[in-house]
């Protein structure tokens, strides 16, 4: 009953006109960036981070969350109609979704993607609602040692799942942590790594770093080669799957939902991993695996449900522990901090209207997304005809404006350009930016908890190993660090390693 009362309270917040508008803007922009290749939810969220300052914390965070789960819906449209993933979590949808479109079944593919996403999204919200309060009560007992070890685990899982060399990913995580430490030491107020530049005393901003590494670097990368797009010209009137398609899709949607949700909760996990895991699972369970890659609807239904469920699951570690499990959630943490809020175990008790308002807005947002993505799919398909040479100057414009507005300081625009060039070069030599950004956000928290734990234990480092939760996290992290040394596990890692943030 408590939960029902809380949901009712949350709906009261979510249904306020200003929050409804924020939710609509969020899911609309989310669908838009999901549909458009070359700009993903990370870029869009960092772009709009300063805009959220103009409103209430509820409206700002509802909008940011809407962009994330909205992009999961939109990404499938591009995958199915153009065979280019609109965002990374929809890469796997290209395999069977586009084949279905070529066979004249684009409507059914889009329909099952949207309906599966709706089901998975709704499940994730209900599960979030039920799990979060329990986990938050449990997390109150966490001390600095547990937080430190959890963050270490999150970073190690992300580096383990990042494409390419693990040494490079770990190096990037360290670089991110160091960048996060630039500025005044929070304990001694001593300037660190500031090179006597006044602009660096407050540290480097999250928005210019993310916009540079993801927005500008992506544009530079795309300018190297022409992006060829061939939109499938098909009748999109038959969006409701037929009975046989429903029968084939029901179990994959259910499995994808559960799998995606739990993979989303794990630190370092996310929508991309879950969509690939769901695809692999469906192929393995299928009696006719040879149909996969040739237009099997299960190959669309499972992964699309999984990536949406993971998007919902990813909110759990952020809202209950205050630890972002991936880059997108790190940006959302930035939004909380900008508004003077600290997500974590106390958020639910100290700020229940905000917590339940966000959760309830996800119900509303999911319903909006179903309308945006089924009846209006033709409009999004038209948008895909927008050529990249028109699109990229607009992305640049929004990036500049977003970064400048975040601080009203032109220095941040320089930082964005510098990180854009760095991100472009990093991509050239196989260094992934995702571990850098997550460590950049976690760096100050990691240091704070490490130093607190060491001071509390009077320098006894065994405190990290004598506390069960901390020890479990560190042992698991160590196992993942050692795993690539074993050839069999190295091959497995190569299969699941993904570009989480494109």
């Amino acid at each position: 009953m408590d939960i029902l009362a809380s949901v009712a309270q949350g709906l009261g917040v979510a249904l306020q006109p200003v929050n409804l508008l924020a939710c609509f803007i969020g899911v609309f922009i989310g669908t838009l960036v999901g549909v458009l290749p070359g700009i993903g939810p990370v870029s869009a969220m960092s772009l709009l981070l300063p805009v959220t300052l103009a409103g209430t914390p509820e409206a700002g965070i509802i909008m940011m969350a809407g962009i994330y789960y909205g992009s999961m819906y939109g990404g499938s449209t591009t995958s199915i109609l153009v065979n280019i993933p609109g965002e990374a979590a929809s890469v796997v949808t290209c395999l069977d979704g586009h084949e279905m479109a070529k066979q004249g079944r684009a409507g059914a593919a889009l329909g099952i993607a949207a309906l599966g996403s709706f089901f998975a999204g709704t499940f994730a919200i209900v599960a979030l609602m039920l799990i979060a309060p329990t986990l938050a009560r449990w997390a109150v007992a966490f001390g600095p040692a547990e937080y430190f070890s959890l963050m270490v685990l999150g970073l190690v899982v992300l580096t383990f799942l990042t494409q390419g060399s693990m040494a490079k990913a770990l190096l990037m995580a360290c670089v991110g942590a160091v960048l996060g430490l630039i500025g005044l030491d929070s304990i001694t107020a001593q300037p660190r790594l500031t090179f006597d530049r006044l602009e660096l005393y407050d540290g480097i901003g999250l928005v210019p770093v993310v916009m540079g590494l993801f927005g500008i670097a992506e544009v530079l990368h795309n300018l190297e080669r022409p992006i060829a797009r061939e939109v499938i010209k098909t009748k999109l009137s038959q969006l409701w799957p037929n009975r046989a398609e429903w029968r084939a899709s029901a179990a994959p949607v259910a499995r994808g939902t559960v799998l995606g949700f739990f993979l989303g909760i794990l630190p370092g996990g996310g929508a991309v991993i879950s969509s690939f895991a769901s695809y692999a699972l469906e192929k393995r369970l299928s009696k006719t695996p040879e149909r996969f890659g040739r237009g099997a609807i299960e190959g669309v239904a499972g992964p699309e449900a999984a990536n949406n469920a993971a998007a919902g699951g990813a909110f759990i570690p952020l809202m209950t522990l205050g630890i972002p499990p991936n880059v997108v959630m790190a940006l959302l943490l930035g939004a909380f901090i900008i508004h003077g809020l600290q997500p974590g175990p106390l958020l639910m008790s100290q700020n229940p209207t905000l917590f339940w308002g966000i959760v309830a807005s996800m119900y509303v947002g999911n319903a909006m997304l179903l309308v945006l993505n089924l009846p209006l799919v033709g409009m999004w398909a038209q948008l895909l005809r927008l050529p990249y040479n028109v699109l990229f100057p607009l992305i640049v414009l929004f990036s500049i404006v977003g970064v400048y507005c975040s601080s009203n300081n032109v220095f941040d625009v320089y930082v964005m350009v510098a990180f854009g060039i760095l991100g472009y070069l990093m991509r050239k030599v196989g260094y992934e930016p995702a571990p850098l950004v997550l460590a950049f956000v976690l760096g100050p928290m990691l240091e704070n908890n490490l130093r607190k734990a060491m001071i509390l234990s009077q320098g006894d480092l065994s405190t990290f190993l004598t506390r069960p939760i901390s020890a479990t996290c560190l042992v698991f992290a160590a196992a993942l660090l050692l795993a690539p040394l074993l050839p069999a596990l190295r091959r497995k890692r190569a299969v699941v390693a993904l570009d989480e943030t494109a």
Binding site: A54, C174, V175, V410, E447, M454, I455
Partner: protein, 162 residues
Amino acid sequence: MNAPSSERRIVLGSAELWAALLWLAVSVLVAWAGWDLGIGTAAAPGSGFLPFWTGLLMCGFSLAVLWSTLTTAGPSIASLWSGARWGNVIFMIVSLVVYVALFETLGFLLATIPLLIVLLRGVDPVPWRTAVPLAMLSTFAVWWVLKRLLLIQLPAGVFGIG
């Protein structure tokens, strides 16, 4: 005698090698900066504690990457850009740097409209009749939303326009 020198040339031209060396230099700098700030003790870690140890970890990972570039042949610097339209990339970077340099002097409107026209015309040229209105409309729309709706201050430049 020729074979080893040719192999040596391939290794020296390796993009990964130079990247690893660069990161190694950065790592040493970070560790040194941490040392300089003061590591403190285990019971009272100083400001340089985490930078120092992270710098050392970075050294280790850089050396691991360096070792892998020496043992396996990676792509050369030239091959990374072969067939790529790298002129577009340089054009874009130069345009952005010039734009940022002039941003506060000219103001948002006077700096942004030319930037957009340059980008629309400079890479896979968009016709003038599309490029100019698109640049002007999008810039004015953004300016109006930020300045009038969200009341966010944008630089007006020395001419006070915007």
